[in-house]
Amino acid sequence: MVGSLTAVFAQDPMLAGEIDLTVVAIVLLKVVVAFVFLLVATMFMVWFERKLIGDMQNRIGPAIAGPFGILQTLADGVKFFFKEDLLPDRAERRVFVLAPLLAVVPAFLMFSIIPVGGDFNDGNGGVVTMFGRETLLQVANPAIGVLFVLAMSSVAVYGVMLAGWSSGSKYPLLGSVRASAQMVSYEAAMGLSVAAVVLTSGTLTTNGIVSFQAGEGWGGLLPNWNLLLTGFVPFVIFVIAGTAELNRPPFDLVEAEQELVGGFHTEYSSIRFALFFLAEFMNTITMSALFVTLFLGGPAGPAPVGPGWLWGMVWFFLKLFVFLFMFVWFRATLPRLRYDQLMDLGWKLLIPLSLGWFLLLAVIDVAGDQSWNPFVVVAGVAAGFLVGAGLLRLAVRAGHARRLSGEDAVGEPV
C-alpha cells in the first residue's frame, strides 16, 4: 500500500522521499497561492473581458470603480454578497444549494494540475528548489494528468444540470438540458484531441507533456510544441470544443438570454449566482491554461537572463493572455449558433475529424517504428480520409433527406 502510494506521489520529487512539516507547509502554500491566483485572475478576467469587448464595440467599458474601472468586479462581488438569497418555492432545496458548489469546486480543482512556472530548460523538467526542497510549480502532478481535467469538467456538467433541474422552473430546465447535451457531445471531441497530444507526448502528466515540448523543434527555429507536432488540427478542434465546453459565445446556448431568460441560473441570485459566475470565469482561465499546457509548451521557453523559474512564469502568463484575449475576441465577433448547428458541428464534423486525425497520428507513429515507406503511408492515409469523409457526407445527406420526408419519424410526421 505504501509502495503504491509512493509511486503515485513520486510524480513530484518533493513527495518522493520523507514527508515532513516543511513539505506539508510547501503544499499548503502552493494550494493557497493557486487559490488566490485563481480568484484574482477571475477578477482580472471579468474586468478585462468587459473592457475589451467595450473597446471592440466602440464603448468605454467599466471606468468608475478604481483606476480604469479595475475594481468593478470587486464592486459586483460585494453587491452579490449583500443581495437577498432567494430560494424558489418549487425548488428541490438540497440540490438547489448543492449545484453551485458542484460547479465551483471542479473549477478550483482543475487548475491544480496546471504547471504555472518552473525551469524546463536543459532537461530540468520544471523542477525548482523551494525552501531547500526540489518541487514542481503546480499544486499536484497526478499520474492520470489531463484525464483529471476531463473528469472534473464532466463533474461540472452536473452543476449546470442539477441547477437547472432543481430550480423548479421551465427555462432553467431547458437551459440545463441544452447544457448537458452540449457539454457531453463536445467532451468527446475534446477527449480525442487530448488523446492526440498524449499519443505524441507519450505521457499523461501535465509536467511530462510540458517537458516533452521544452526541447528544440525542427531546424532549431520552431518550438517543439504539440501545436506543430500534432499538425494543428487537434489544436483547432480542442479550442472549438473547449469553447463549447465552457459555454462561452458562440456556444452559449445554455444561457441564451433571448430564448431562455438567464438559462440554467435564472432562479439563482446573490452569492449562489456569484458562484456560477465565478466558476464560469475560472473555467475560462483554466481552459486557456490547458491550451497553453497541452499545445503551446506551457511555461517552457528560453531564459536569457535571470532565474529560469521566473521566465517559466513569464512565458506561461504571456501565452495564457493570448487565449484570454482570444475568448473575448470570439465573444465580440461570432453570433450564437443554433442548437442543430451546434450538434451538427460537434457530432458530424469535430468528432469524426478528431478521430480520423488521431488515427492518422497513430499510423504515422507506427510507420516510424516499423520503417514503412512514407509515401505509401501518406497515400493510404489520404485515401482513407477521403473515403471516410465521403461516406460520412453520404450518411449525413441520407439522414437529412429522410428527416425531411418524415420516413423515420417516431410518432406522427410533422
Binding site: 471592440m56 464603448r59 465577433t333
Partner: protein
C-alpha cells in the same frame, strides 16, 4: 477566408480613437443648439418681464402642463411694459413634452427653452417650476437651480430655435431679425439656418426644392 473576416472587423475597433461614448457624468456630449430643454421666462434689456399673461402658451400646450394667470400691472411699479403681466406662471415638468409649441405661440418671445434637461426630483410637487424658478436672473441667465446639472457655458443658448425661424416658427423668415432684445444679451443675432447642402439627400427630390414655406 470568408469565415474569419469578422474577426478583422472587431479587431480594427480596438483603440480609443473610434470610441463614441462620452463618460457621461464626468463629461457631457455636446448638445445641439436647438435642443429643447426646460423653459426660461425672458426679460427685456431694461429688466422688465416679457410675459404679458396672455395665456396663449397654456392654450396651445398639448400636455396641459402650463398654468398662467395674468394680472393688471400696478401703475406705480409695472412688471411688464404692457397692460398686464404674468402673475402666476407654473410649468409641470412631469407633463411637459418639450414640443416648443409654447415658444411658437408666445407673441413677445417671453418663453424660450434652455438646453437643460438634466434634473430630477424626489417629490412630485418639486417638478412644478414656479415663476421664481423660470424667470431669468438679473444677468439674463437661467437660474441654476441646485437640483440641475449646469456646466460652464450651458446657459447661453436659450433661444436658438426661436431665432432660427421666427416669427411664427416659419422658415421663410430665416435670418431676419424680428425679435426684441434680451436682458444681458441685447438683440441676439439670427441663428444660421440649415443650408440645402446640410439636408440629408432624399431620392427623387432635388436640392433646390423649397419645402420650408409650405402651408404658410
Amino acid at each position: 477566408m470568408g469565415y474569419l473576416d469578422g474577426f478583422k472587423v472587431t479587431f480594427r475597433q480596438i483603440g480609443p480613437s473610434q470610441r463614441v461614448t462620452a463618460p457621461y457624468p464626468a463629461e457631457k456630449a455636446p448638445k445641439p443648439e436647438r435642443l429643447h430643454g426646460r423653459h426660461v421666462l425672458n426679460r427685456y434689456e431694461d429688466g422688465m418681464e416679457k410675459c404679458i399673461g396672455c395665456e396663449l402658451c397654456a392654450g396651445v400646450c398639448p400636455a396641459r402642463c402650463i398654468y398662467v394667470r395674468g394680472a393688471d400691472n400696478p401703475p406705480d411699479d409695472p412688471v411688464s411694459p404692457g397692460e398686464r403681466y404674468g402673475f402666476v406662471y407654473e410649468i409641470n415638468y412631469l407633463r411637459c413634452i418639450h414640443c416648443d409649441l409654447c415658444v411658437e405661440a408666445c407673441p413677445t418671445e417671453a418663453i424660450t427653452e434652455t438646453k437643460m434637461f438634466e434634473f430630477s426630483f424626489t417629490n412630485r410637487l418639486d417638478a412644478i417650476y414656479t415663476k421664481d424658478e423660470l424667470l431669468v436672473d438679473d444677468d439674463g441667465r437661467p437660474r441654476k437651480l441646485p437640483w440641475e446639472d449646469w456646466r460652464e457655458g450651458e446657459d447661453e443658448h436659450t433661444s436658438a430655435w426661436m431665432r432660427a425661424t421666427a416669427p411664427s416658427g416659419s422658415a421663410a423668415f430665416e435670418g431676419r431679425v424680428a425679435w426684441s432684445g434680451e436682458l444681458g444679451y441685447g438683440v441676439r443675432p439670427p441663428e444660421r439656418g440649415q443650408a440645402h447642402e446640410d439636408l440629408p439627400a432624399t431620392p427623387g427630390t432635388t436640392g433646390t426644392q423649397d419645402h420650408g414655406s409650405g402651408g404658410h
